[in-house]
């Protein structure tokens, strides 16, 4: 193995977008192939869909693991990737990818304006970034009273707070804000709340108003939000004071605007060839976001796709490199890392 110095104006050899299982394995594999790598993920935590949606579920079809939870698999993938010290950029979304003339680097722009220059980009974006589901009419009020997160409950001291949603996060926020806020109202468009019955009883006991089959029809205020008009299923309306409306409507995936980046899209997926390359030079796609004849969206296949993509990236960057890697069994770094991890398990 030899480490390449980044070529030309590139700050690294390869940028992996998406830190789910497939992206993490690609990060490991890039390191193994001697490539410097930056991993970007819109979430502040690694693990992608597995970590966000089913960390506690047991997975049975990952080679070598008769049974492994999503969380444990992610932890092991991180251990493996970290052997080569990839640069991790979490909590930032890639908003643009621009290619240059042949031989120059690709520029990935992040939501804070930062630019990452690399010779190749591997898209491992799965179903896309996960963002909070927005309130139907609240977009223009975002930041002027409408929020989707409550990072500092103390900021809502003495406020009238309306929380929209019927699940546990809506009730958790209601219970958290009740001692601080002047009044808390939870409204849900369905017939019944999904949150735990115990939370609902506690909320009702604390004087939190729980309204079902209601929706916010109108947001009112001069500049900042002051009240909302609620309409119930019978069509009856009432206006209640609201300094803050918290949208707790769960999350929804938001695919990246690949087409705007010039990448061919098929449905929500990106067609790739047998090297995992998209139609754009230097841009590869692996895992659930990629598609080809016979594609199966599984973690198991994503790992193979990661290895295929990275080996082809290595040759693309340096045509003198062989496509096939050295045997990982020749690497001395890996056993050391494994020993380190075992030591951690023992002392835990």
């Amino acid at each position: 193995m030899r480490l390449h110095p980044p070529v030309g104006d590139a700050s690294c050899d390869v940028t992996v977008i998406g830190a789910g299982p497939t992206g993490l394995f690609a990060a490991y594999y890039a390191g193994f192939r001697g490539l410097s790598v930056t991993v970007v993920d819109a979430q502040s935590a690694v693990g992608g869909q597995v970590a966000a949606l089913y960390p506690a579920k047991t997975i049975h079809d990952v080679a070598g693991f008769p049974s492994v939870t999503g969380a444990e698999l992610v932890a092991r993938l991180v251990d493996q990737a970290m052997v080569y010290g990839p640069r991790m950029v979490l909590g930032h979304q890639a908003v643009d990818i621009v290619g240059g003339p042949a031989g120059s680097s690709l520029r990935v722009t992040l939501d804070d304006g930062t630019e990452i220059r690399s010779r190749a980009v591997i898209l491992a974006t799965g179903v896309g970034g996960i963002r909070p589901r927005t309130l139907p009419s609240g977009d223009v009020w975002h930041g002027r009273g409408v929020t989707y997160l409550v990072p500092e409950p103390g900021a809502h001291q003495g406020e009238d707070v309306v929380i929209v949603g019927g699940g546990d996060s809506a009730l958790d926020w209601a219970l958290q804000l009740q001692p601080i806020a002047r009044a808390v109202t939870v409204i849900h468009r369905r017939k019944a709340f999904r949150a735990h019955a115990a939370s609902l009883r506690r909320a009702a006991g604390l004087g939190i108003e729980l309204l079902t089959e209601c929706e916010i029809e109108e947001f009112r205020g001069a500049g900042r939000l002051a009240s909302v008009v609620i309409r119930d299923v019978t069509g009856a309306r009432r206006e209640i004071p609201a300094d803050t409306v918290v949208g707790a409507l769960g999350v929804i995936s938001a695919p990246s605007p690949f087409a705007e980046w010039g990448i061919e899209v098929q449905g929500r997926r990106l067609p790739v060839d047998s090297t995992m390359s998209t139609n754009v030079d230097g841009v590869f796609a692996i895992g659930d976001v990629s598609t080809y004849r016979g594609k199966i969206a599984l973690i198991a296949t994503g790992f193979g796709e990661a290895a295929t993509a990275v080996n082809n990236v290595a040759v693309m960057i340096d045509p003198a490199e062989p496509l096939a890697p050295e045997h990982s069994t020749d690497e001395s770094v890996v056993p050391q890392a494994a020993a380190h991890r075992d030591a951690e398990v023992v002392t835990a």
């Binding site: 869909q49 949606l53 179903v127 996960i130 949603g165 369905r190 769960g250 929804i252 449905g267 659930d288």
Partner: protein
């Protein structure tokens, strides 16, 4: 194979599944909801929130009736619904599409529950 909504949803439509789906692939007919097999990512978030226990993974459809509903969920999107000339296909999100004004013939003809 993706998740499927069974007969327990007919005339109930609690819609908790719609709120839980991270890819917004659960579409609303007049009497029943349907999961789009082209858009479902097989995460199972809907299965655990359904108070009617109507949702199951299609691959675990052991009874004839559940197999019938598995095929019917797919048919909602792959075949033209009554009164339409084109199948729904993959609209890419239920919220922006809104309620679909028709059910499959199987659900339409189901006795009122």
């Amino acid at each position: 194979m993706t998740y499927v909504i069974g007969k327990e949803c007919i005339d109930v439509q609690d819609h908790s599944c719609v709120d839980a789906c991270p890819v917004d692939c659960i579409y609303e007919g007049p009497r029943k909801n349907y999961i789009n097999p082209l858009e479902c990512i097989d995460c199972g978030a809907c299965e655990i929130v359904c108070p009617e226990v109507a949702i199951f993974p299609g691959r675990k459809a052991r009874t004839e009736e559940r197999r019938e509903f598995t095929a019917d969920n797919a048919a909602f999107f792959s075949l033209p619904l009554p009164g339409r000339s084109e199948p729904l296909g993959s609209p890419g999100g239920a919220e922006q599409l809104g309620p679909v004004g028709a059910d499959t013939p199987l659900v339409d003809g189901w006795p009122r529950q």
